[in-house]
């Protein structure tokens, strides 16, 4: 039997390899370098690796071939398992940016007095002598950097995956490190470990559904590749039930990852328990990757069968938006509140996903749903990452104070921190002059254009409900006197400060002049088959 060597387009895929290489190098660093050196080497390695990958992405993007009249760019790579098209490289860039933000936040050591936000010795049981020794001797887990890089690798492959198995592999590669990272908090370790276990169990459960869906769809179409699946659907030869159940299972796996209702139950607990730096990274980057994958799956693989999955998407979107915004009102913990707001945003993103129309229905230069969703992902990611980064600042000697009662009067105590957080909240509420508004506008426009009036009405309703709890926090910070203990803010080092500053700047700039980024998302073009 002849073995044909597979062609791998290294020249186009080298950003992926850089990330992978740096991750492996990080593991080696952990194994061989003496402890005092590890922190600096790991952070520098991770940071430079991500920067190199980002540069590489830009270079690869500029060299992509144009197809048609600029409607799409790029080509399939790795024997058709990866699609290197416009949306892929756009999302790679976004994920890498969030990865950079994540590295900066992970590396922050000012806030805990010289050690990072991660546990000294994760294996030490909470409350034992071993834990006390680990924390007093200033131990630190620097494995978080290679773990994060593996997660970034998975996140980059996920939206690029052009076939079901690759998608599944990417899903697992991105999820497993995240499960670990969630359990590594230095403070409130039991809560953190509980969050990690919940995420792992529920993630494994939903991955099981995903894999079952992969099997069923393969059974229907006879191939894993999206283009072939699309062909099979168009020819409609197989057992329709097989396709529907498979489609549903695949959707379930993806909905879990983005936190759509009724699969959102893990989100509040995990976001609250994980170290806040991990939450910031996770909330932004995972959604980008998962939505990219969802878009590719539904637009390419199931694209010709829109009318089958759109009603299902309507129901899930409506449910998600309502659950997210209503339940957030009852929250008294900032991280949980932000988690529910994150769920509501997933609902808005789903509203954009279901706004898909064929290009003949759209006017020239009209916003496509792909463009709208990608733009919203950018704006949502930056404002969420910035908001969680600010949450790390409000702390005292006992650790982060995330109970809302401790945030009362923050406006007087630290006007800058309160102002920036208020700005991020306004952006998440979708107030004009912030990027969140333009994102919402784009998403609603594509949904209305596709005729999804009920969904947009519910979206407007849940925006009104959501405005209430965002404004409540702003009011708490500025117009309420501190109750028992006053809020206290710890000054961060330049790492966190830079992340917050960049996020705030992006949120403002994209609110006032979103044109360039919107055009970039438009130029990325459609998915290729």
């Amino acid at each position: 039997m002849e073995f044909v060597k597979p062609t791998i387009e290294y020249a186009q895929l080298w950003p992926l390899f850089v990330v992978f290489g740096v991750a492996c190098a990080g593991v080696l660093v952990e194994a061989f370098l003496p402890r005092p050196l590890r922190y600096v080497v790991q952070t520098v390695l991770a940071f430079s690796g991500l920067v190199a990958a980002l540069v590489g992405t830009v270079v690869v993007a500029s060299r992509l071939d144009e197809l048609g009249e600029g409607e799409a760019r790029g080509n399939l790579a790795m024997e058709g398992t990866l699609a290197l098209d416009g949306p892929t490289v756009f999302l790679w860039g976004v994920i890498l940016l969030f990865g950079l933000g994540g590295v900066l936040l992970f590396a922050e050591r000012h806030l805990e007095g010289g050690v990072s936000a991660f546990a000294g010795q994760a294996a030490a049981l909470p409350g034992t002598e071993a834990e006390r020794q680990a924390s007093t001797s200033g131990l630190d887990h620097t494995e978080v950097y290679p773990l994060m890089l593996f997660a970034v690798l998975g996140m980059m492959i996920f939206p690029a995956a052009n076939d079901l198995l690759t998608m599944f592999v990417a899903l697992e590669v991105l999820s497993l490190p995240l499960y670990l990272l969630c359990g590594l908090a230095r403070r409130r370790r039991l809560l953190s470990q509980e969050a990690a276990l919940k995420y792992f169990l529920l993630g494994a459960f939903s991955s099981g559904f995903f894999l079952y869906g992969v099997a069923l769809v393969f059974g229907y179409a006879g191939s894993m590749e999206f283009a072939a699946i699309n062909e099979a659907i168009r020819n409609d030869l197989g057992n329709r039930t097989l396709l529907l159940v498979g489609m549903g299972m695949l959707a379930v796996g993806l909905f879990f990852k983005v936190g759509a209702a009724p699969f959102q139950a893990w989100t509040p607990d995990v976001y609250q328990g994980a170290p806040t730096a991990v939450t910031a990274f996770m909330a932004a980057a995972t959604k980008v990757a998962a939505f990219g994958a969802m878009l590719r799956l539904f637009y390419v693989a199931f694209g010709s069968d829109r009318w089958t999955w759109q009603p299902m998407m309507w129901v899930i979107a409506i449910l998600t938006m309502l659950v997210g915004s209503v339940l957030a009102i009852a929250q008294t913990d900032v991280k949980r509140m932000l988690a529910y707001s994150s769920i509501a945003h997933t609902g808005f993103l789903l509203t954009g996903v279901l706004g898909v129309q064929s290009s003949t229905d759209l006017a020239i230069g009209q916003l496509t749903s792909l463009q709208a969703v990608m733009f919203y992902l950018v704006t949502y990611g930056f404002s969420t990452m910035g908001a969680f980064a600010v949450v790390t600042l409000v702390r005292d000697s006992g650790g982060e104070q995330t109970h809302l009662a401790r945030w009362a009067g923050l406006g007087k105590e630290s006007p800058l921190v309160a102002g920036v957080f208020a700005f991020f909240l306004l952006a998440m509420a979708g107030i004009p002059l912030t990027s969140g508004f333009i994102g919402k506008w784009a998403v609603f426009a594509s949904a209305l254009s596709a005729g999804a009036y009920p969904v947009v009405v519910v979206a407007i309703l849940s925006s009104i409900i959501a405005a209430f709890f965002y404004v409540r926090v702003i009011r708490l910070m500025y117009f309420t006197e501190p109750g028992g203990q006053a809020p206290s803010v710890t000054n961060p080092s330049v790492l966190t400060a830079a992340t917050i500053a960049v996020s705030a700047a992006v949120t403002l700039v994209l609110g006032v002049v979103p044109g360039p980024v919107l055009d970039l998302a438009g130029r990325a073009g459609e998915f290729i088959r």
């Binding site: 529907l244 699969f263 299902m312 339940l327």
Partner: protein
């Protein structure tokens, strides 16, 4: 004070300025001629006034005015003292019911209209507190909700396709 305003009035009338000051806004109105010439009407009015003054002088003014106002007087005098019951009619017909309407509306505004708004927001808050107990912290419940979600997704897919 009055003198100054009278001068002002004279100035305004001189040149018919006040007659026409609203003209740019509302247009010129036609000036109607009254059935009798204006001067005749003025003379008639002055005559009636003079008769009234004379009557008052002869009927009332020439008599002695008692130190105390007499109590036992005719109905006409009593009516005149009570301003022809003008105030009482006003009070009974307009002011009294008016007060009730006003207080009723003020209450309705606070309780009804505003209440609807505040009630709406309390209802949402109540819903929030009711539903948040679903998030009970047990993985098994979360996994169950995931299962329910799977059924929901499959159901919606099936319904659309087989209807």
């Amino acid at each position: 004070m009055l003198a100054a305003l009278s001068v002002l009035g004279g100035v305004l009338l001189a040149g018919d300025w006040i007659v026409g000051f609203l003209a740019p806004v509302v247009g010129e109105a036609e000036h109607h001629e009254p059935p009798l010439p204006a001067l005749v009407i003025t003379l008639l009015v002055t005559l009636v006034v003079a008769v009234g003054v004379a009557a008052a002088w002869f009927l009332v003014g020439k008599r002695d005015i008692p130190r105390e106002a007499p109590h036992d007087v005719s109905f006409a005098t009593r009516a005149a003292r009570a301003d022809l019951y003008g105030d009482a009619i006003n009070e009974g017909l307009v002011v009294g019911p008016g007060r009730h309407v006003v207080s009723g509306l003020t209450t309705m505004d606070r309780v009804g209209v505003d209440g609807a708004v505040e009630g709406g927001s309390s209802a949402v808050g109540g819903m929030a507190n009711t539903f948040r107990v679903v998030q009970n912290g047990f993985v098994r419940s979360y996994a169950l909700s995931l299962l329910v979600g799977v059924l929901l997704v499959l159901l919606t897919l099936m319904v659309v396709n087989f209807s």
